[in-house]
Every structure is written in C-alpha cells, then in structure tokens.
C-alpha cells in the first residue's frame, strides 16, 4: 500500500501515514506500527517508480532519482534502475535502523536530564526549526506557520482552568481540535486542489526489462552507498528536514566525489543509488529525535508522532521508562518493513507500475472520499469534517504562498504538550 501511495504522483508519504492513522485506531499498538512504518518506508521508496519510468517523482523525496533514473530507462535499462533503487532503498533503511539502535539510548540518556524548562524549549525548538528548514521561500514564513498551528492547538477548554479558548460558544470546539482532521485537511485537500486545478497530466510509463537486485553494481558503489546512508541519517535526524533534501544533498556529494562527475545526469547508476539510499536512510534518522526527544525529524514522522499519541504513546525521554522495549520494537518493525519493501519491489513492481496508468482526475476524487472517511472514522464526528474543509482550503492558500504546512501541523500536534509543560 505504501509503494502504491508513493508511486502515484499527487499522493505523498505524509498523506499516506495520515490517512492510515484513522484505520489503525482500532488496532493494537504493534499492528498499527507495522502498518504505519510499512506505509512510510514503502511510500518513500515507491516515489522512485514514476521518477524512473515517467520522469515525474511520485514524492518529493524521489526528485533527485529522476535525474539519472529516467535516463537509464530511456537507454532501455529501466528494469536495472528499478532493481538498483529497490536494493539501495533496502540498504538505506537498514543502515538508518542500525544508527537508530545505536544512537537512541545515548540521546535518551541525555534527554532524561531535561526538566520542564528544557522540554518546553525543545517543543518550541521543534516548531521553529521545522518552520526554518521546511520553508522553501522566506524563513519567516515558517515562523508564522508554526505559531499559527500553536494558535489552532489553543482552541478548546483550558486543561488547567477549564476556561474556553477561541471556542466562539461552539460546544463542538470545547474538546479542542482533533489532530487527524488537521493532518488530512492540511495535506490531502491542498494536494487535490493543486493537481486538479493545474490539470497535471502523466505520460505513459516506458517499458522496462527484468528487475534484478543488481548486487554487483551495489558492491562496486559501496562507498557511495555508505556515505549516502550517513548523509540520510544525519539530515533525517535534524528536525523538520525531510527525505527530499537528503536525496539532493547525497546526489550532489556523490557527483562531487565521483571519479566521473560528467556521467551524472546522463544515466549514472551511482546517482540513483546515492539518492535512494539517502532518502530511505532518512527514515531511521527521522525516528531518532521522534523517539528520544518527542520531536519529528521529517513531515511523515510528524504524522507518525500524531498517530503514536492517538495510540496513547507519547514519544520522548520518558518512553524508555514507560515502554523500555519500544525503540527495539520500532527498529525490528522498520527492518521487516524494509525487507517486505525489497521483496515487493523485486517481485511486484511490474504490477504496481500499471497503477501509473490511472489518470489523476480519476483517483484524486477517490482520495477525497478517503480523506472524508478518514477524518470522520476516528471520532465518528461530522464536526471533524466541517473543520477539515476550511483547514484544507486555508492550507492550500498557505501552500500557494509558500508557507510550510508541515510546521503548522507540528504546531497543532506539539501545542497542547508545550502548553501543559509551560504551565505545569
């Protein structure tokens, strides 16, 4: 499902995790984690399919993959390119997971020294830094979007004094704004409006040969792979920076350190390997601050943070005391997800690619219905839908004005926690 979400241009890993969150509400925590991490890993990898076959990245994370991947397809080596991305993504996710296992206890030990002052500053840091780094235009736009999320988080009855904040005498707002309609509205509706308003069309995917793991090429480029994995983990662990930046930085570094930089941009396998390793390694990196400090590493990780909170798990320094085995469980699930992704990628890619034939004008209205059902299903509350639509439209205008939506959502997620820590 994650691969399909990533492969369809217009659908992102963030939206996939947000939509799936509602369906996992009735599941046990472990089952929900398997579904959500599987979606996350699969969607980041799946974005490479259209990047390689039709030169349109399925997700922003795969934008750099298209540079060399599509040229390999044009040379008739599309199957080889898909094999390379599949193996590189598997290695990237696994290396990211290993770093997560090694780094998490050290950071948690340090984070346990934090008192409420530091925790409050940490939540504010998470909101501000994500605004700073995810803003594609002026930095202050990120700083506006984050506090805007904090304002939305203030809606509802005060948790300590039960005084109504910004409820406008509407009893439905007394409980505050639920995270899921904000997530789905802020990511789903702008995407639908943007794609259909601009009438973005897709070209037919080019034919490709057999998909093989390409271990020989992988071994020859092992230096690029390890370096890209480290870049991915490093960038992923910086709050707010996503897989797309990891892909580009890693591509640039691979090109600069290569003996044949002139081959990059002309169908060089090392270009595909470096970007795909980095963007998948970013997942493990993004989970480091999420699990140890309770702040997100990337936009899909922010959705994961919301999902974990819905399941009664509050990631942060205390998690190692409340659930000592949680980090290890996450790592094991991450490894299984990457293994499943590799197996699916090698054996089922040909079937998934057929989905690229579905026109955007057909599947986006269906995504709209899923957004509606997703927002409603969580609390069985129609008012969530009434909130989702205006939030989605406002988010669309903010996106058009290049305000980062991820930091707004982070503000909504971390707002109540920041408020409680600040006054508690």
């Amino acid at each position: 499902m994650g691969i399909i979400f990533g492969a369809l241009p217009g659908l992102t890993a963030t939206l996939g995790v947000a939509l799936l969150t509602t369906l996992t509400y009735g599941m046990s925590l472990n089952t929900a984690l398997i579904a959500l991490l599987g979606m996350y890993v699969g969607a980041i990898y799946g974005g490479s399919y259209p990047a390689i076959l039709i030169n349109i990245p399925g997700t922003a994370a795969a934008a750099a993959t298209a540079m060399d991947g599509f040229l390999l397809t044009k040379k008739g080596e599309g199957g080889r390119a898909l094999g390379l991305t599949t193996t590189a993504s598997f290695i990237g996710t696994t290396l990211g997971m290993i770093v997560l296992v090694l780094a998490a206890p050290l950071i948690t030990e340090m984070a346990l020294q934090f008192t409420s002052y530091e925790l409050f500053l940490l939540t504010i840091f998470g909101i501000v830094i994500s605004g700073t780094l995810t803003s594609s235009d002026l930095v202050y736009k990120g700083w506006i979007a984050g506090p805007l999320g904090l304002v939305l988080a203030c809606i509802g009855r005060d948790r300590l004094q039960f005084y109504p904040h910004l409820t406008f005498d509407m009893p439905e707002l007394d409980g505050g704004i639920e995270v899921v309609p904000v997530l789905i509205g802020a990511f789903g509706i702008p995407q639908i409006i943007k794609v259909l308003r601009n009438r973005l069309k897709m070209t037919r995917p080019k034919s490709f040969g057999r998909i093989l793991p390409e271990f020989g090429t992988v071994v020859r480029n092992i230096k690029h792979i390890i370096r890209s994995a480290m870049i991915g983990v490093g960038i992923g662990s910086v709050s707010g920076v996503g897989e797309d930046i990891a892909g580009w930085v890693s591509y640039g570094t691979a090109k600069n350190t290569s003996k044949h930089p002139e081959r990059f941009g002309k169908g060089e396998p090392a270009g595909v390997l470096s970007t795909e390793t980095a963007n998948n390694a970013c997942i493990g990196g993004a989970l480091i601050p999420l699990l140890t400090l309770g702040i997100q590493g990337s936009p899909p990780a922010a959705m994961l943070l919301g999902a974990l909170m819905l399941h009664g798990v509050t990631p942060g320094p205390m998690i190692c005391l409340e659930k000592p085995t949680f980090s290890v469980e996450v790592c094991a699930i991450l490894f299984l997800a990457s293994l499943a992704m590799w197996i699916n990628g090698i054996f089922l890619a040909r079937q998934v690619v057929k989905l690229l034939l579905i026109p955007t004008a057909v599947f986006l209205p269906v995504v709209g219905v899923l957004c509606v059902l997703g927002s409603y299903a969580l609390g069985l509350n129609i008012f969530n839908l009434y909130l989702m639509v205006p939030i989605g439209i406002v988010a669309y205008f903010l996106t058009e004005m290049k305000y980062p939506i991820a930091s707004l959502v982070i503000g909504v997620i971390l707002g109540p926690m920041a408020d409680e820590i600040f006054r508690g």
């Binding site: 369906l23 639908i192 026109p359 004008a361 069985l380 839908l385 009434y386 989702m388 639509v389 989605g392």
Partner: protein, 176 residues
C-alpha cells in the same frame, strides 16, 4: 497594481488591467468547482443524504468535471451541485431522509444523462464517460461495506441505500 500606481499612475493601472487575463478564467473556474464540490459533499450531502448515493454523486460529478476533455461537464457539474446543495440544505431537515435520497438519485441520473449527451459522438469521451460511471458506482459500493460491515465504522448518514445493503447482508447471512 501597487507598482502600477507608484510608477505609472492611473493610466498605468488601466493599461495593466487590459493585459491581465480575466479573473474568471478556466484556471479559477476549476478552483471554484473543486471547492464547491467538496463543500457541498461535506456540508450538504454527508449530514443529509445516504452516504452511498452522496458519494456516488460526488465522484461522478468530480471525475466527469476533470477527466472529460470538454469544458461543459465542469460547468454543468458545478451548477448541478450548487442547485442540489441549496435544495438539500433547505429541505434537508424538513422532509424525510428517504425523499432527499431519492431526489439525490434523480439528480445523479440527470447528471449521467446530460454528460452522456455531451460524450456520445466522441469515442475517447465515451470511453472516459464509461470509466467515470464505473468508478463513481463501484467505489462507494466497495467502500461502504468495508467501513460499515468490515471495520464496523457507522457511516455519517445511513438511510435508503445503506439500509437496503444491511437488509441484503442479513438475507445473505440467513441463506448461507
């Protein structure tokens, strides 16, 4: 406009306006259509109309507006939704829900008929119309049982069609 006033005065503003594309261009029409379709679906249909038929109408109008090459379905779907929105909101609380459901079904039938008239002399458009119809009917027929009976999520509004589906389920259960 601010620059035009600063640097060129009112003649500049008037000249500038002549060069601008009209506000109600196709790009903005699509935006208005998307917002109106989603707005009507969420605020008018979901609370007042059976979820199955509401979703079928929403999907048919939405897909035909953007999937078909011709521009007319976009205008027609938007106008039909606008009128249905007003009627459902006005009548929604006053009449029984089954009447609202039947009215929505009639609107869907009319919309299908009108869209078919625009497509019938064109092979590609006819094929696209068939795809639109198939997706619009199949998706709610799959989603409703999955959520209602599989995930045990009560749908936002259940009346004529969901009740019929429930009856069918009990009938099948009794038989097998």
């Amino acid at each position: 406009m601010a620059n035009a006033i600063t640097y060129h005065g009112w003649p500049g503003v008037l000249r500038d306006n002549q060069h601008h594309t009209p506000w109600f261009n196709e790009y903005n029409q699509r935006f208005i259509a998307i917002v109106l379709l989603i707005r009507t679906y969420v605020y008018a249909f979901i609370p007042h109309v059976d979820f199955l038929i509401a979703t079928a109408l929403f999907l048919f109008a939405f897909i035909s507006a953007f999937y078909l090459e011709r521009h007319e379905p976009l205008i027609i779907s938007t106008l039909v939704f606008l009128v249905t929105d007003i009627v459902v909101l006005l009548a929604g609380n006053g009449v029984t829900q089954n009447i609202v459901d039947l009215f929505t079904t009639a609107v869907l039938a009319v919309l299908i008929f009108v869209t078919l008239r625009f497509c019938r002399n064109h092979d590609l458009e006819t094929r696209r119309f068939q795809t639109t119809l198939l997706v619009a009917l199949l998706v709610p027929l799959l989603l409703c049982p999955i959520f209602r009976f599989g995930l045990l999520v009560p749908l936002p509004s259940e009346s004529f069609y969901i009740d019929a589906m429930e009856q069918l389920r009990y009938l099948l259960k009794a038989r097998f």
